[in-house]
């Protein structure tokens, strides 16, 4: 796994411009379609933007939960790949994911997971171009810390509120 990549996310730097959603859906669906984007930016409270996408956990609970082996790991990039023909839309992977990251595509109704764009993610490119650098690409081996980033957006937002707004943040979300 020499070419293993991972996207570092900086919640505090995210402005919620959602260029990443547009770039992602443009790359994968050939259409500006944020509902079908692999990366989604949640906003539990105005001003707290939480980019939410696959963190490539080292033990892959989604793959273990799949009853039909529709999910597999890309050896090059360590991303989770979806075989759309095998997927039965059962939703097991959504419940197995610690952050409930996967979701069903609004049109095809198959599960959608970040595939890291074969090692060159579009979302990172537009984030750097816009100057926010909330998403950055690092080349590192899989490790246990990745799973810490697979969290539900509302939990992330609560931590973020305290960090950004101080004591007032505890009652914000």
């Amino acid at each position: 796994m020499s070419n293993s990549v991972w996207i570092v996310r900086d919640y505090a730097a995210c402005s919620g411009c959602r260029r990443c959603e547009l770039a992602c859906s443009m790359h994968h669906e050939d259409w500006m379609w944020p509902e079908a984007s692999r990366i989604r930016v949640f906003m539990p409270f105005p001003g707290l933007e939480v980019p939410h996408f696959c963190a490539q956990c080292d033990d892959y609970p989604c793959i273990a939960s799949c009853p039909v082996d529709a999910l597999s790991v890309d050896k090059e990039t360590t991303a989770v790949l979806v075989d759309e023909e095998k997927c039965t839309s059962c939703g097991n992977c959504i419940d197995a994911c610690p952050g409930r990251v996967p979701f069903l595509h609004p049109e095809t109704n198959k599960v959608v997971i970040c595939d890291l764009c074969e090692g060159d993610p579009e979302c990172v490119k537009v984030c750097r171009e816009a100057g926010y650098n909330a998403l950055q690409l690092v080349h590192e081996e899989p490790n246990v810390h990745r799973k810490l980033f697979a969290m539900e957006p509302i939990i992330v937002a609560k931590d973020l509120a305290v960090n950004m707004l101080g004591e007032k943040g505890e009652e914000v979300v």
């Binding site: 509902e35 949640f42 409270f45 959504i94 979701f103 069903l104």
Partner: protein
């Protein structure tokens, strides 16, 4: 149907609590396009000669929120809110840049036309299946950020209940009023 339009408009009659889909002829959409143009045409058709007698804050006034043909095609994200203005007694053509515009278009609607007056505070929930009027009495009196927070939670829980397997629902796009709208403030800030 000219390019760029989703094809139907949502008409909400709050007095009778009825929701229906309306369409406009192609010639009209080609002649008056965009939020302001089409809204002026709709106001002309529906109010017309009664314009000078119409009280802007009465239930006879119409609230129109329209997207244009370029909305939801990057970078178009504007919604145009129109009606008879209580400040100037002319037409309002107020545009706002929100997620609501592109999400309305993705739900298959080009705009929302609201008529009448509800008996209690309500909000209009637009999904892919259509629009519906939902009671919002318990949200009355909140300031803007509290409204966003409460509706985010309420709508995502409601959508997750309807389609439990889809995964996490993202927060809806919305337009709402705050204390100024609640108290019918007509003074410009």
């Amino acid at each position: 149907m000219p390019g760029g339009y989703a094809g139907k408009f949502l008409e909400v009659d709050l007095t009778r609590e009825k929701v229906k889909d309306v369409t406009f002829p192609d010639e009209m959409l080609e002649a008056y396009f965009g939020g302001r143009g089409l809204a002026a045409k709709i106001l002309w058709d529906r109010i017309g000669d009664g314009w000078s007698k119409l009280d802007p804050l009465s239930p006879e006034n119409i609230f129109i929120a329209l997207t244009g043909p370029m909305t939801a095609i990057y970078p178009g994200a504007r919604i145009c809110c129109s009606g008879k203005s209580p400040v100037s007694n002319g037409t309002v053509g107020s545009t706002a840049s929100t997620e609501f515009a592109s999400e309305l278009k993705m739900a298959g609607y080009d705009g929302v036309i609201v008529t009448g007056k509800a008996s209690s505070p309500v909000y209009i929930l637009v999904t892919d299946e259509g629009g519906e009027i939902v009671d919002a009495s318990h949200h009355w009196g909140k300031i803007g950020t509290d409204t966003i927070k409460a509706l985010n939670r309420e709508v995502t829980v409601e959508l997750a209940k309807r389609k439990p397997k889809v995964g996490l629902w993202r927060e809806p796009g919305m337009i709402y009023i705050g204390p100024a709208g609640r108290t019918w403030s007509v003074t410009l800030p």
